[in-house]
């Protein structure tokens, strides 16, 4: 699973959670806050992304994340780790 694939997954979830946002507005350097997400929207995007990727990561792991890319990185790292351990 590449970082690009994880970003694709996250992107689709972002537009599902934020109805005012179009796919082409979601670029990886932006923060979810920039796109109008409140704290619950952000938590929901993380939870739904984990479910879609079949990952279970403590939410604390995302505490330091500043933009979408940071979130995608945490998800990708954990995804790679989970694939390797299987």
């Amino acid at each position: 699973m590449s970082k690009e694939h994880v970003f694709e997954v996250v992107k689709n979830i972002i537009v599902e959670v934020l109805p005012d946002v179009e796919l082409d507005q979601v670029s990886i350097e932006k923060s979810l806050k920039d796109l109008g997400a409140n704290s619950i929207d952000r938590m929901e995007i993380v939870t739904m992304s984990m479910e879609e990727l079949d990952l279970k990561i403590p939410l604390m792991s995302f505490a330091q994340v500043g933009n979408i890319e940071g979130m995608v990185d945490v998800l990708t790292d954990n995804y790679v780790a989970s694939v390797e351990s299987n």
Binding site: V17, L18, P19, D20, I40, E44, T47, M48, E51, K56
Partner: protein, 424 residues
Amino acid sequence: MVTTNKVGITGMGIVSSIGNDISTFSNSLRNGTSGIKQAAILKEPKVSVDIAAKIENFSFSDSIDHFQNVSDKKYHLAKRLGRRAPFVIQTSILSALEAWCSARLYDGKILPERIGVIVAGQNSTQNYQYDLISKFKKDPEYLSPRYALEFLETNQVGVLSELFDIKGEGFVVGGASATGNVGVIKGSQLVLSGIVDVCMVVGVAADLSPMDIQGFINIGAMGGKKYINQPEKACRPFDKEHEGFIYGQASACVILESESSAINRGIPFLAEVKGSAFHLDSNSSANPNVDGEARTMLSALSQAGVSVSDVNYINTHGSSSPLGDKTEAEAIQKVFKNHTSNLWLNSTKSLTGHCLYSAGLVELIATVEQMNKGFLHPNKNLEVPICDDLQFCGAEALDYHIDVAMSNSFGFGGINTSVVLKRG
């Protein structure tokens, strides 16, 4: 309560099995269109009664596009708040939007602090939770963080206050099958006491889980067994073959407003809430009580300052429950005595099913529509009345002029409510 002001209804909205706006609902009432039918049972385990008046073919996104006079900002906010929300929140948003528009509250003449919101609904997240349980048992980590907001009944207060910029009082009321009337009574009191000028009262659609339905079957309250193959005949208020209530779904909203505020905004009362009463039987069980119901009707008349002979229509609780119908009929005879021959009765539940928490509001709206459009809707399936001395509407609508109406709602736990309306 000392007051010189009056309270009335200045806006109404509905999403129901017989119409997703007031005008369609009103036409269905006049035509005697019933929303009761065989309902597809999609969930496990299957319950034995599959007759209901459900809100069907409902799409939040499509419905929200129909509103005019809603600013772009409010439209987007409504979409954002409702698009992914549970069904009951979506229907509340829509009925509230229609009521808000019909009361022309978009004129912005009332300070947000002078507007209140009452959500008349209880246990509204039962089915939502039921659907989540199996997934939750498997992967609790994937539970939506929004759940912590959404399982709270007050979520509706939050959603509606944000959408309509309401900053006065806001809370939830419950009163079993009388919940809608309890909301109207508390809303009227808020307005009459001067705490707010306008109060939005939203009756929440009952989204029952299979467990809730089975509970109603097991306690003997739900009908639908005798007419299992003829669902349109299953709900028969005050008919000898009645056997229990038939479940219905609706969200219904009224805007209550003080007379001075309505005059100030140049908006007429659709009807005046002339008086109301709310009395308990001190009874934890499901059985109704003649004295309690009679006391409540009398008390509502007294609060309204009208006599029994002024009332010429009652929208009965009439749930099609054998004991409930019999008790209400006796209570009406006890209160109205010889005047019953000048008094027409019907039960909106014969068309909408029993909308539980929102029933009081659905029926208040039905009363206002009949009052303002000069008719009485049919009392479907009333073939052999349980008593001869009350005047029930029959299979066809009647042209009729209602001056003063009473709308009754009674609930499990000895909860009795009556609201008296006068033409606006």
